[in-house]
Amino acid sequence: MSEGVGAAAPGLSDASTKSRAARGKASPKGAARPSKPGNTARVRSLVLHALVLVIAAIIIVPIAFGVLGGFKDNGQLSNNPFGLPSPWVTSNYTDILVAEEFWRPLFNSTLIAVATTVVVVGVSAAAAYIFARFAFRGREFIFTLFAVGLMFPFAVAILPLFILLRTLGLLNNPLGVILPQAAFGLPVTIIILRSFFRTIPAEVEEAATLDGCTPFGFFWRVLLPMARPALATVSVLAIVASWNNFMLPLVVFNDPSWWTVPIGVRQFQGQYSDDTAKVLAYVVLAMVPALGFYAIAERQLIGGLATGATKG
């Protein structure tokens, strides 16, 4: 055991090395793992916990400021920024929860996110099937074209897109947001789906074909059901991207009845710029759907971002 301690010690701080010998009584757990003697492990774990707590505080404090701030009035915000509200003012939240300017954007964002996801996943799945399962001249070229699309900044397209949508009469029309969002979502969706479709053994396709499956039948009845996890991943990514999109709805929707959540938040902030507490309440309520979605789809989201990042 003492060899193990010596080996691990140089990496630890001097202070802990000094006291190590004095209080060498290792807990049973420490004894099982010779590289972590009880005392240094305790100092270490204290330091680690302290660090993690500081970071957690930096994350939580602004959000808690928003949540609690929503329960204060503006006088309290100036005089009592850190304490709990006294008295608790609930009118900020309740006013917003009955206001159309909160629910309308929520509905619009949901509609647009779902529609975008259906379009981008459907269209990408069909294309990814071809890229994964058919060999033909020009395939790599077309695929590269999509892959390069990953690097196109959306901001470059926004002006021509605006003019294009204006010409097509799609301003103040949800399709004016849904279709471009879907188009810009194609590269990452196709790349992830293609690599998943490739992992399905050729024998499966042969068996299906021999059983009389057409290419479409195989795609629809065999490939898509097998690809459910990958479809869930790309759907989650598409929903989040659509939900958070700001620039496109900003220029497409003049009409307040089509505003999405980000636009609604932004407008609300402008409209009530001198009522900080009310704006905080709105922002906090606008966070709830995203956080709820994160709670449900955490695995797909994190897994998808990691794979999406590396494939791109």
Partner: protein, 329 residues
């Protein structure tokens, strides 16, 4: 290969397919191309019309003086827009500020994310919770983050002022976003708050794909924690780090939402980015040709960086990185 279903059904079609070979295969070839076309067409149309065409239009428009009205641009001025950019202080400032944000990201944000990832890789009570929590800012949209932090930084009712008041910096507390000298650092703070969780997740995924035996072996050989990290973990994280750098740089070049909400590019253009300048010129001043030239420069910077980076830095480990990431979870 060894599926019994294959063996049972195999003889039947091979008999029928063998006999009328030429006619059938031609027909089948036609069917094949029909399938390829039908499946690929929606993606091609969508991508062509709404991604490639706007990119080409932006390039085209950047050679014109155009206010966006009246159908098509007619006033061809060659490279004049680009020449104007070269003497435009706002544009040159955008490049400088973008560079500053990139340097700060590489020197502070990414090492911080890496450190936190390593921290959460230790045995620590509640680390699952911390991982979830640290990713929360990334889940919130840029707009929500931006609006929340305008409140945090706001002069009268904000939080930052009071926190810095504790430490005796009363004077700086209220001008985080309104002082041209501090605004970039405030912006960078919010960027870090929002994005470190994403890089942390990448690093955690990368770290989990490194077998613990390798690190333990180094420690048995006498390496301390730091040495083991420096000489074993860090090199093996190479592919992940290179990807994370790539994404941080690309994201910073295109930064818009957060700046737009937090400062609108102000005060006095002190926090403007390329995308914000482009947006202002295009939508506020209707100087479409000039705004397009700005956006084309942004596209070129992105593409040159992306291609150069992949050619010289990421090429050797792209394959490895992908398999590593697929193994996780």
């Amino acid at each position: 290969m060894s599926h019994s279903a294959d063996q049972i059904t195999a003889p039947r079609p091979s008999q029928t397919a063998a006999a009328p070979a030429p006619v059938k295969s031609q027909k089948r070839q036609g069917r094949r191309w029909l399938t390829i076309t039908l499946f690929l067409l929606p993606a091609l149309v969508l991508f062509g019309v709404l991604v490639l065409l706007p990119m080409l239009l932006a390039m085209y428009t950047s050679f014109f003086d155009w206010n966006g009205l009246g159908g098509r641009p007619t006033d061809f001025i060659g490279l004049e827009n680009f020449q104007r950019l070269l003497t435009d202080d706002i544009f040159l400032g955008d490049l400088k500020r973008g560079g500053l944000l990139i340097v700060l990201s590489l020197l502070i944000q990414l090492p911080l994310s890496l450190g936190i990832a390593m921290l959460l890789n230790q045995k620590l009570r509640g680390r699952g919770f911390y991982r979830l929590l640290f990713f929360v800012p990334y889940v919130l949209s840029e707009v929500i983050t931006g609006v929340l932090f305008t409140m945090v930084f706001s002069p009268n009712r904000g939080l930052a002022e009071h926190i810095f008041g504790w430490f005796g910096f009363d004077d700086v507390g209220s001008t985080w976003l309104s002082d041209p000298n501090t605004v970039m650092y405030s912006l960078f703070f919010v960027m870090t708050w929002k994005y470190f969780g994403f890089h942390m997740i990448l690093y955690l995924a990368g770290r989990q794909s490194i077998p613990n035996e390798l690190i333990e072996a180094a420690q048995v050989d006498g390496a301390g924690s730091w040495q083991a990290f420096r000489h074993v973990t860090l090199p093996l994280l190479g592919p992940t780090i290179r990807i994370s750098i790539f994404l941080a740089v690309i994201g910073t070049i295109q930064l818009f939402d957060l700046v737009w909400v937090l400062t609108g590019g102000g005060p006095l253009h002190a926090s403007e980015t390329l995308a914000v300048t482009m947006f202002n010129d295009g939508f506020r001043r209707s100087d479409i040709g000039y705004a397009s030239a700005t956006s084309i420069v942004m596209l070129l910077i992105s593409l040159v960086f992306a291609l150069g980076y992949q050619r010289f830095i990421m090429r050797r480990d792209i394959e490895g990185a992908i398999t590593v990431m697929q193994d996780k979870k």
